[in-house]
């Protein structure tokens, strides 16, 4: 069976999952099953088929599993958001369509993705600009102390979602050139391999950038995600663990310093260490969110309470879980589907990561390898940062769960990320004579 037919076949279970999910919620809401769930399922399938045909036309050799896996994630997200708030789900469905359009556009207009290499500094500048936008007076928005959103008129978006792609593209292009120099010019000093300062300089700039983000955007999660992606790329490019160690050390040093000086970061760490402290719990922007996240998960147990059964709304109409559709969506999923459902979701993400890294290994040129590995690493790290935050592995920060959380920028940006991965994949898997 050809790669595209496998992809087509794999989309069917995703649509069935969506149909079943909506059916479960309808039964819970009105104790009767309408055929609307079938309509939703069919509509979703039609949208996915559109995406599939674009891939079929432009990238016949691309990885057949990535798109269906993402479809599963997206439909899962739609069902959970619908369960939280119907209006939000309708908006999310619209964003899903916008994402697919941008996905198709990327595939069509960026068929030779290697042109990105040439515009590396433009891309880098654009990426940095995007990241700093939320601090621009007038359009920047502050949420829970972190500057992550931008609002222009009625449209608001989170530039960091696009920024992460730009940064990875730049790093992949830059490291492709300098990786040899970084390795060969290194000297060993006290048993540690020290890279040459001349070539390492720009990378120190990246470290500085991550620190600046920590201070300006005040979001530990995003800066952890960016810097982690950077270290992953550095490691893949040079195969030197010592570089990663130095980088981690520098990041830890910076984080430790800013944790003590930036109140917002300090607060996040305190609430992470002791979420059940009475004063922290009652404090505005305190540990209420993480504590409620843990309570919701405990409520879920092994198999969860079932779709539509978790307690979200208080009798007065407000929500017991702050931001259930974005930051805490993993807690809602664990509440309703239990440990079993949460593990299933993580498994899907792990499979996406597996396909992504596989693409990196199959790719022949360094830029493609670095690009695929970097995008996958950032994607996986984003999952780790938000799920880790919700489960109290690390301090809770406001990044989205890719494809599942409510949010236009998130779903659109991640569709672009997916398009880039598929582009790399198509090129890598293309038979020699077809090139």
């Amino acid at each position: 069976m050809s790669a595209r037919n496998r992809e087509l076949l794999a989309l069917v279970p995703a649509s069935l999952l969506l149909t079943a999910g909506f059916a479960a919620i309808f039964i819970q809401q009105s104790a009767e099953l309408s055929d609307v769930s079938l309509t939703y399922g069919a509509g979703f399938l039609a949208l996915c088929l559109c995406g599939h045909f674009v891939i079929r036309a432009t990238l016949p050799y691309a990885d057949p599993y990535l798109f269906p896996l993402v479809a599963v994630l997206a439909c899962f997200g739609l069902v959970v958001i619908y369960r939280i708030d119907e209006t939000l789900a309708r908006e999310q469905a619209q964003w899903f369509v916008v994402g697919l359009i941008l996905f198709a556009a990327t595939l069509v207009f960026l068929r030779d993705f290697r042109v990105l290499e040439r515009y590396r500094y433009t891309v880098a500048a654009a990426g940095l600009l995007l990241l700093l936008l939320p601090r621009v007076p007038g359009i920047g928005q502050q949420v829970n102390g972190a500057y992550l959103g931008v609002g222009i008129g009625p449209i608001s978006f989170q530039p960091a979602e696009f920024g992460k792609i730009a940064i990875v593209v730049f790093l992949a292009a830059y490291l492709r050139d300098t990786r040899q120099l970084l390795v060969q010019g290194s000297r060993r000093f006290l048993g540690v391999t020290i890279p040459p300062l001349k070539h390492f300089g720009p990378l120190l700039v990246v470290w500085g950038g991550a620190m600046v983000m920590l201070v300006f955007i005040r979001d530990l999660g995003s800066s952890l995600m960016f810097f982690g992606g950077f270290l992953a790329l550095l490691y893949v490019a040079t195969n030197r663990l010592s570089f990663v160690t130095i980088g981690l050390g520098l990041f830890a040093l910076g984080a430790w310093f800013f944790a003590g000086t930036v109140g917002h970061v300090q607060n996040r760490i305190d609430t992470w260490r002791d979420p059940f402290d009475r004063t922290l719990y009652d404090m505005q922007g305190g540990s209420y969110q993480i504590a409620q996240s843990l309570f919701a998960q405990a409520d879920g147990g092994l198999f969860g309470t079932g779709f539509g059964q978790a307690l979200i709304d208080l009798p007065n109409g407000s929500s017991i879980l702050p931001a259930p559709q974005t930051d805490l969506i993993y807690a809602v999923i664990t509440n309703e589907l239990g440990l079993a459902g949460a593990c299933g979701l993580l498994l899907v993400y792990l499979m996406v990561a597996e396909r992504g890294f596989k693409i990196a290994m199959l790719a022949e040129d360094s830029f493609s390898k670095l690009l695929a590995a970097g995008l996958t690493a950032v994607f996986a790290l984003q999952v780790f940062v938000i799920v880790g935050g919700v489960t109290k592995v690390i301090p809770l920060t406001g990044v989205t769960l890719p494809f599942v959380s409510y949010g236009g920028s998130s779903i659109v940006a991640n569709f672009v990320l997916l398009a880039l991965l598929l582009l790399v994949s198509d090129r890598a898997r293309r038979p020699a004579r077809a090139r």
Binding site: I27, Q28, A232, Y235, V236, A237, N239, F276, R278, Y281, A291, L294, F295, A296, Q297, A298, D299, G300, G301, L302, F303, G304, T305, G306, Q309, L311, L314, P315, I320, T334, G338, L339, A342, C343, L346, Y349, L350, A353, E354, F357, A360, M361, S366, K369, L370, A373, A377, A380, V383, F384, V387, G388, T391, K392, V393
Partner: protein, 474 residues
């Protein structure tokens, strides 16, 4: 560059493994602690939406039922008001739960075992709790409350089914009205009233010196060890030295040589104190524990509202083998011994049931919203306390108490009552704690009154027990 990519994937697998470990930690391993966390209000909010089951008396009276409130939540009403306040308790989101409402919360909210609820979560969780049928008899309860109130004293009464351990009546005076208790001012006021302490369940929570009713326990130990028989000759002289201090009989009466039956019928202090001393601390301790002293009663009632009976030194339980304990005086219900009315009713139930102590229980059965009985409480043996023969001998001796001794006020027509009076002296000027405990082949009763000037068990407590026995058809 493929090796580092592979290693990177390994790292991602590891990180996701950490996520799975932490998710398991919150959902399974530490879930119980999180649910019990005082900041966690989810359960209360969730349960507000559940239509709690109705609680009924054995004769079908509604004791507690759910009433719809604004939104999709439910409140609670108690149609019998003060009558069953202590036994049933209350359930409100703002102040929590007490009594049976607390101990049987799982049934009342329809919560099942893990396996069943996994199945139910697929089918959709029920929003209706199970109804509970109790063993409580509304007429006996009414008689008990009226009699306690009529006495003009604080006090408590417990009536048990001798053959099943079911609680037939549980009354504590003064009582309170559980309706509208979620009003903060009302609840705070009840809590502040230290003089009357209406929220205190005197039947289970308060230990009193049991006085001469304790002689039944001493007699049980004496006969069951084989060291004494009902006709064993003992000396009833006044002023015997017990633990180095002379002990007096009631009214300083000197009885000379008597047998054990006579000593119980006339409640001779010096006889039973000497018997207790001769049996010794460890033997007495063994029998006390078998009767249920020194442990929280195994009843379906909140632990926080029950107290273990036994000797208490500075508030802490002290075993009979301790040097600080005066075994002789404990044997006649003094010497810092404290027993709850529930404990003394259990002693009567044990003897009436051939020496087998049963676990007392208030719930008889739970019935789900579809009318199926999902849980029936069967008689549950707590301990074989004394032999069947000892129980028979003791019954004969205790019948003698009611026939011609101190407990004649409890005598009924048509059925022979076995009983024992108690009058614990709180000071030397006649302030007493009167007791009466008794049983028929079917019903065991213990009743006590607080701080009764000049009141004896035979004249004040025995008539109340008799009225309750009659209400229960004895």
């Amino acid at each position: 560059m493929n090796r580092p990519v592979l290693r990177l994937y390994g790292l991602v697998v590891l990180l996701f493994g950490v996520l799975v470990v932490f998710t398991s930690r919150w959902t399974v391993f530490e879930a119980e602690a999180l649910r019990d966390n005082e900041l966690n209000r989810r359960e209360l909010l969730q349960e507000q939406k559940i239509r709690r089951g109705t609680i009924r008396s054995a004769d079908g009276k509604v004791l507690a039922r759910a009433v719809p409130q604004q939104g999709d939540t439910f409140g609670r009403r108690y149609p019998t008001g003060e009558l069953f306040a202590h036994a049933i308790g209350y359930s409100y989101t703002s102040i929590g739960r007490a009594g049976l409402e607390r101990s049987r919360n799982d049934e009342l909210t329809g919560r099942r075992t893990e396996l069943v609820s996994a199945l139910e979560s697929i089918l959709g969780r029920s929003n209706e709790g199970d109804d509970i049928r109790t063993t409580l008899d509304s007429r006996a309860q009414q008689v008990a409350i009226d009699a306690l109130e009529g006495s003009g004293h604080k006090g408590a009464l417990v009536a048990l089914n001798v053959k099943t351990g079911g609680v037939l009546a549980m009354a504590s005076n003064p009582s309170y009205d559980p309706n509208g208790l979620d009003d903060r001012a009302t609840f705070a006021e009840l809590n502040r009233d230290d003089a009357n302490a209406p929220l205190l369940n005197r039947a289970t929570q308060n230990g009193y010196p049991p006085g001469s009713t304790m002689k039944v326990v001493t007699a049980a130990a004496a006969l069951d060890t084989g060291r004494y028989r009902p006709d064993s000759q003992v000396s009833g002289e006044n002023g015997k030295v017990i633990s180095g201090v002379p002990l007096n009989n009631f009214g300083q009466e000197d009885f000379g040589s008597v047998d054990l039956t006579f000593a119980l019928t006339n409640s001779i202090n010096t006889v039973w104190a000497e018997v207790g001393e001769k049996l010794g601390g460890s033997t007495m301790q063994r029998y006390l524990e078998r009767f249920g002293f020194y442990a929280e009663p195994p009843m379906d009632y909140p632990d926080q509202q029950m107290t273990a009976s036994g000797v208490r030194k500075r508030g802490d339980l002290a075993p009979m083998t301790s040097n600080a304990v005066d075994v002789g005086r404990v044997a006649i219900g003094q010497g810092d011994l404290f027993a709850t009315p529930l404990q003394m009713a259990t002693v009567a139930q044990t003897i009436g049931n051939g020496g087998v102590r049963l676990e007392p229980h208030i719930m008889a059965k739970a019935v789900d919203p579809d009318g199926r009985t999902v849980e029936t409480v069967e008689p549950d043996k707590a301990a074989q306390v004394i032999s069947r023969q000892t129980a028979r001998d003791l019954t004969v001796m205790m019948k003698q108490v009611v026939r011609e001794g101190t407990g004649t006020a409890a005598a009924l027509e048509g059925v022979e009552v076995a009983g024992k009076t108690g009058t614990a002296e709180l000071n030397t000027t006649g302030l007493n704690q009167p007791w009466f405990m008794c049983f028929t082949p079917e019903v065991a009763v213990a009743v006590t009154l607080e701080r009764f000037q000049g009141g004896t068990g035979g004249t004040t407590a025995a008539p109340i027990a008799k009225a309750v026995l009659q209400a229960l058809g004895q």
